[in-house]
Amino acid sequence: MNFFSKLMQLDRRWVYLLLVIVCLSAYYADFTVPTIVENETKAIYDFIEALEPGEIIFVAVDYDPSSQAELHPMTYALVEHAFRKDLKVIFTALSQNGPGMVDQALRDLTDSLKLPKTYNGIFYEGKEIVNGVDYTFLGYKPYYAIVITAMGQDYRILFPSDYYGTPLDSIPMMKRVHNYDDISLLVDISSGSITDAWISYGQGKFDFPLALGLTGVMTAQYYPFLQSKQIMGLMGGLLGAAQYEHLADNPGLAKDGMRVQLPAHLLIILFIIIGNVGYLVTRYRERKI
């Protein structure tokens, strides 16, 4: 077996080992990845930035722990931005393990928001985020298409009380809030087909501004909806989250994650190139013979 044939048949254990080494080295190395912001992400940031204090955004956390690495940073960056701007947030979780993700994000964000911080040159005092005043978490209900449709009529049809059992009518921020007409923006952060339901049964029927935060592999599928203006913005994977953090001047989990993702991607590209060099040279030699 010659050198180029060997290039094509490297034992997969070496591939795994190299990936581990690259990821660990990148994690412990001290460097930053420059962020080039895409228009799709900037549209979401600008929209939230333009909202007035007291306006309500709806954040649908439709992912499980399996997509946490990509999507949790998005939720953190976007919701922290909203809370710093004194917006109110309604959460739902229409995937089975979503409630735990919202619960965890809210606990972390409540702690983070207590600290005073400066973003993009603007100083924000630390503040206490209060359940029922600053946010409401509606919780989980099965059959997401039905839930999305019903919420267009009234949140109370399927969520008479919030995740913690408090009746919606006794929650201060929900008193005059009934359906999608009362929100300024809906952001679906999702790792699955729930996004299609938000587009078809939600935005398609009730015509509210919809933005998406998706895993990297899903992103390409949703560009048609961006052009048709069914969605007003799109954050794709960890990169999208890092772009949002960059815009909000709040570097966090995504920017940190990008330091590992970039070298890992470069290694994958290197392997693809090695494999192709071996393949092309071997094919050229076989033709010559």
Binding site: V15, G100, K205, Q227, M258, L266, G275
Partner: protein
């Protein structure tokens, strides 16, 4: 009639929902609200059936000592424990020992009942009696132990530290680890399979490299970002739109076939 009734129901309610979608009248909304309530009720029954099916399959596997019979045991224990944690609240500052004792007694009692109902005939009564005895012990613990109490569907139950910790420190790491392993398979698979075998494969390879490299530092980063935006917004968008329209038409056709009773797969017989 056994086969005709479901077909009639599907036709009537399917047609009704299609018409309702295009009628923004108050009465139409009331009908929709009523039917949505029914869907939730049916969903809850489906959940109960699913739970019962999981218990049956797991117990049968454990009793027959099939290969990997230990896993269903963990599944059942986790199911009961998470439900127990979610429906109970621990008194602040109380010791957790009596709480753990209660859940252990409850788990053994349930196991005895399951063995009694679903296990082999031998010692069935003995197991049922043991389960009943343990359930009485558990009830006494629940009544007299002040370190914890039942809280059904309340904030206290859902913020119970055991419930939160099991999710944060077991569920999240397990699922995240399983998904993270994918990175290794993707690396290995792309190295082995991503070859420039023909023109289309070469185009795919070049497009993938541009999109993956779009955020690399250096003078070419911005150029690659622009090229990547073009790839996503022009060729990708055109192809995806064709797929979306195709899927949409497929869904409409399938829905019509179901409503008209041509497609009967949901009845379990194809």
């Amino acid at each position: 009639m056994k086969r005709q009734l479901p077909l009639i129901l599907v036709f009537v309610f399917g047609t009704l929902m299609v018409i309702q979608y295009f009628v923004p009248h108050e009465n139409s909304e009331t009908v929709k609200g009523f039917l949505l309530d029914w869907i939730v009720i049916i969903g809850i029954f489906a959940l109960a059936l699913g739970l019962w099916s999981l218990v049956q399959v797991s117990v049968a596997k454990i009793n027959s000592r099939k290969e990997n019979w230990e896993y269903p045991l963990v599944t059942l224990a986790s199911l009961v424990m998470m439900m127990f944690f979610g429906f109970t609240a621990i008194t602040e500052g109380a010791s957790l020992w009596s709480y753990f004792l209660a859940i252990t007694v409850f788990l053994i009692a349930l196991w005895m009942f399951l063995q009694g109902f679903m296990g082999q005939a031998a010692n069935r009564n003995m197991k049922l009696l043991s389960g009943l005895g343990l359930l009485i012990v558990f009830s006494l613990l629940a009544i007299f132990d002040s370190s914890w109490e039942f809280k059904f569907y309340t904030a206290e139950g859902l913020t119970n530290q055991m419930f939160v910790h099991f999710f944060d420190y077991i569920m999240i790491p397990l699922q995240a680890t399983m998904f993270a392993l994918l990175a290794f398979f993707i690396t290995s698979a792309s190295y082995r399979a991503f070859r420039a075998r023909n023109l289309l494969a070469t185009l795919l390879l070049i497009a993938a490299l541009i999109v993956m490299l779009r955020f690399t530092p250096g003078p070419w980063g911005e150029y690659l970002a622009k090229t990547s935006a073009w790839v996503m917004n022009v060729p990708n968008l055109a192809a995806q739109r064709a797929i979306v329209i195709g899927i949409g038409l497929g869904i409409v056709a399938t829905a019509l076939k179901v409503i008209l009773g041509i497609e009967r797969g949901y009845m379990g017989k194809g």
